[in-house]
Symmetry: C2
Subunit: 230 residues, 2 copies
DNA sequence: TCATAGCAATGATGCAGATCATTTTATTGC
DNA sequence: GCAATAAAATGATCTGCATCATTGCTATGA
């Protein structure tokens, strides 16, 4: 029995289990008839700011950097992993991607045809509600980030970032950092040198330990305190 | 003939014309049965971060400041005027407001019961789609802001802000500034002193003119250039 | 009309963090 | 295993902006 389409239970990352659950069987068939699975190697570009947005992109596995390209500097807006969705902001308006995305590790994604996605939205209010919920979470995260930017020093923001990496991206404590110091600096809007110096400080203070690209948070409560007072 | 409920054509600001248009007559009746109109004086608090979010708040007229309160500093996330909607991020999750809002001018708003709003969403995919579109625009604006924060100096960000006030908030060129310099500094994440000094510079360079709280942009193209290179 | 208070202007000083330059350490390919 | 290249560390210097302190301005109200 051939099952070419997305498995509701296995495909946790790609279509988001909760999105899946909000669609009736008939819609899932439509959904699956209009999707493509793809793999990207570390460093490859997944979507390009300003280009025509033909698909909604769901991350099945891996870590992806979402960034904006300016005239000379780029800044990272967020990191996403399994379950993350790209391209929702391109559903309406000019229909171009509002940001670029790059695979920070080998990454599996699933492309869903934009028109199909839009059609499913129009026909399935539960699905639309789930999408609203997803976008809302993005917006909440982004307003927190904006608040950090305008009220905290990089001390605090780096502490926040480390906690975020630990809790939301790598889900483990000694975690293998798949981002370079330059990547970190682009997230925090600072320089790579400052990141280096701050890391040194955190190591000296016994708050973290670092050995060949692996970070171990030793004193999480102290790190939390820094992230608040920063 | 009594028409107590919201007039589709007149109530442009409150319920958003486009949202209105996406609902069938029966839903509008439900909508209107569950809404309240209110007025706030300049300076009054419209909603409080962390409090239970019982309503979606639509701005009918006036200018509203959306801000986050930190332990000691607050930062302004955005300014909204007629057509702006508050509280959408509280539809799900813990159901509390994620930010505070304050009237910067006398303001008319319309409260829609949260449960009713949610029910309408679930029953009207077109309405849900419009809401997605609205939230998406917020998200796009906020990512632009985040990008500015991490790549530009306050020179550029103030220029951006002045253009935004002119184009999106006051819709006129010599515009009466209803925000204090402190308000401006909280938007840009800087100090009021810096704002003062930057204004002086802009005046000296003949880019703007300022007289009793009214701002006149004299050289818009130069201001745009500053906003880009900032 | 004056008094009190909040807002704005402006100077002096300090510091966080950028930038530049150099060295050291990892990575990658052959 | 070595060269070539990229990433990281680290020091020296510079600057954008915050902070503090003072003075001037403009409102609102007895």
């Amino acid at each position: 029995m051939e099952n070419t389409y997305c498995d509701k239970d296995q495909c946790l990352g790609c279509t988001l289990r909760r999105v899946h659950n909000s669609l009736p069987e008939s819609a899932i068939i439509q959904f699956d008839a209009n999707r493509i699975e793809l793999e990207y190697k570390k460093g490859e570009s997944i979507c390009k700011q300003g280009s025509f947005a033909s698909s909604i992109i769901c991350i099945r596995s891996g870590i992806v950097k979402i960034y904006k390209e300016g005239s000379h500097i780029s800044s990272t807006l967020s990191l996403k992993n399994a379950g993350g969705i790209l391209g929702l902001q391109s559903l309406f308006g000019k229909g171009v991607y509002h940001y670029s995305a790059e695979a920070l590790t080998d990454t599996e994604i699933c492309l869903i045809d934009m028109a199909t996605f839009k059609k499913l939205l129009k026909e399935n209010p539960d699905f639309a509600t789930e999408v609203i919920q997803y976008i809302n979470e993005e917006l909440i995260g982004m307003s927190d980030q904006l608040h950090s930017f305008s009220t905290k020093h990089i001390h605090g923001r780096l502490a926040e970032l480390l906690l975020f990496l630990h809790q939301d991206i790598y889900h483990s404590n000694p975690f293998k950092l798949t981002l370079s110091k330059t990547d970190l600096s682009e997230i925090l809007g600072t320089s790579k040198e400052s990141i280096s110096r701050l890391f040194k400080e955190l190591k000296n203070d016994g708050i973290i330990k670092e050995s060949n690209r692996s970070i171990h948070i030793l004193d999480e409560s102290r790190l939390k305190r820094i992230s608040l007072t920063g």
